[in-house]
Amino acid sequence: MVTIDDKKLIAKEKANNPSLAKTIWREIRHDKMALISLVLLLGILITAYSSPLFIDQEQLQRVNFLETWEAPSETHWLGTDDGGRDVFGQLLLGTRNSFTIGLSVTVIAGLFGLTIGLISGFFGGWVDNVIMRIIDFLMVLPSTMFIIVFIVIVPDYSILAFVLIMSAFAWFQKARLIRSKGLAERELDYINASKTLGTPSWKIMFFEMFPNLSSLVIVNMTLTLAGNIGLETGLTFLGFGLPASTPSLGTLISFATNPDILQNKSWVWLPAALLILVMMLCINYIGQAVKRASDARQRLA
């Protein structure tokens, strides 16, 4: 029976051990840069994701040869590109697409890396050995080159294929990280107790071990999110990413491969380049705050 005293105790315990979300928020509030970053990033994302409400994508993609390469003006805030398409509209859609893809890759790779890492760390022994040898090998592959090669040889190339290929090369480090923590965790009493009680392994892994590693996963995912967005835009920039019909920030920047555009028509590519830069910095500042929040010794708050 829970007495009033127990309730007080639980409440006190909760106050001393606030949830991760609460600690993160407290940490961000105390770090001015992180707070500014969060507000800025949310502003950018809300604008980008709500843009389909006031931008007609069909009209945006329509080629209009009467208005090619127009400098920024009142009708076209950031000018137009080679097909007379509005750069500002493409910038918003591009931000949305790039962020969505970066986030999908992070989540898919995160889930996969988490599962493999948990299996490797929970079972240990030869299972761990085999998995680690495979990961050791995958880590020494020149991944950017392999991603490009896969993109070229996949028969029906689509956005989904692109996301899966990128994810396929993004999970090793996560798996390794989870595994090393998992190995330490599996020696602890609560796991042994659970094993003795006969709990199935998968249940122990996902419902008992995972909650204790969740902060690690969240920190790692926030920090890799920026990298994944960078890689997506970079690949699209090289011409191996999103098709032209789905604008990414990389699509706009790829105009800059032409020296004339790079030099004289900077309104096409420069805003997208700067926007990527701002987004990456924001995500990293937030990521560092999240990282500090997960480690009591580093907290500022």
Binding site: M145, F237, M280
Partner: protein
């Protein structure tokens, strides 16, 4: 130690075999084979003739025979012929490899020249204003995608200010071997090199800073201070000796990043190296070249990682136990 080196080198053999097998399978999946690539759109070559050439090149053999033949040749340095450039891949790559290695070395050296002093300052005077500035720079270097930064550098220093040439690895009008030739080579190297180096510092600065902050609280440092060793010497003789060694060992691990970076840098600065050739070959469907470049890069990473592992284990015996 010898045992460790031997075992570590033994691991490399299956890695290389697996790498070559994967690359071979991928090469087979690439749309169109070497013969279609060479003769497609050529009305004088009938499908029957193409089939005959395929037979001659052994393209109709079972995959393991082809793989064996390919590996056998590759070990001897014969990586096949490029169909767009009409020359052996090996000779096509030779000049490119030199350019990419030069660029990579430049990036490595400059990034260490920048990162080591900054890392030491940030670690020694942690939380000072200098440290805060270095951390800010480090955030920037860590977060900025290389291709965005390179484009901005090219735009600003190459076009707006016009300080540096904006493409190629040397002024083609100059004669090879002359003084001007080397000066021009260097000038072409600076912009892509600095773009790579300024971002490549992130890892080293962060590692050095954290390591120095950790080390300076250790007992042996306190002992040195207690003995009256001057503060400067505490750093040079005691702390840095510990913190700097692993940096040398990380060299091999850097190769992965350098290869990925070379693709973007060389494409943006039209610098004729392996990365640029890789993209050109893949868009031109010249897959013999693509395969060769991936194989070379993969081998470089595998060998580099092995060297790093060995150096690290020599410095830190704890790593050897496993």
């Amino acid at each position: 130690m010898v045992k460790f080196i031997f075992r570590r080198m033994l691991v490399m053999i299956p890695q290389l075999l697996l790498l070559s097998l994967i690359i071979f399978v991928l090469a087979k999946q690439m749309p169109g084979d070497a013969v279609t690539g060479a003769f497609m759109g050529n009305p004088n070559v009938t499908p029957e003739q193409m089939e005959k050439i395929r037979e001659e090149y052994g393209l109709n053999d079972p995959w393991y025979v082809q793989y064996g033949a390919w590996i056998g040749k590759a070990v001897k340095g014969d990586l096949g012929d490029s169909y767009t450039h009409k020359q052996p891949v090996t000779s096509l790559l030779a000049g490119r490899v030199v350019n990419t290695v030069t660029l990579s070395l430049f990036i490595l050296i400059v990034s260490y020249i920048i990162a080591i002093p900054l890392g030491i300052i940030a670690g020694r005077w942690a939380d000072s204003w200098a440290d805060k500035m270095i951390i800010t720079y480090n955030y920037f270097a860590f977060a900025t995608p290389l291709f965005v930064f390179s484009l901005l550098m090219l735009f600003f220093f190459g076009f707006v200010l016009g300080w540096f040439p904006t493409g190629n690895s040397v002024d083609v009008r100059l004669e090879a071997g002359t003084w001007d030739f080397y000066v021009s080579k260097f000038k072409h190297l600076v912009l892509p090199g600095m773009s790579g180096a300024l971002l490549a510092t992130a890892g080293t600065i962060q590692y050095l800073r954290n390591d120095i902050i950790d080390t300076k609280l250790k007992d042996f440092v306190k002992t040195a201070r207690a003995k009256g060793v001057p503060e400067g010497k505490v750093y040079t003789r005691h702390i840095l000796r510990n913190s700097m060694l692993p940096i040398a060992a990380f060299l091999g691990y850097e190769i992965t990043g350098l290869i990925a970076g070379s693709i973007f840098l060389e494409m943006i600065f039209s610098y004729p190296g392996l990365g640029q050739l890789f993209i050109q070959s893949i868009t031109g469907r010249d897959f013999t070249v693509t395969t060769a470049i991936v194989m070379i890069s993969g081998t470089a990473v595998i060998v580099g990682t092995m060297l790093s592992d060995i150096i690290l284990s020599a410095i830190d015996p704890r790593i050897r136990i496993e």
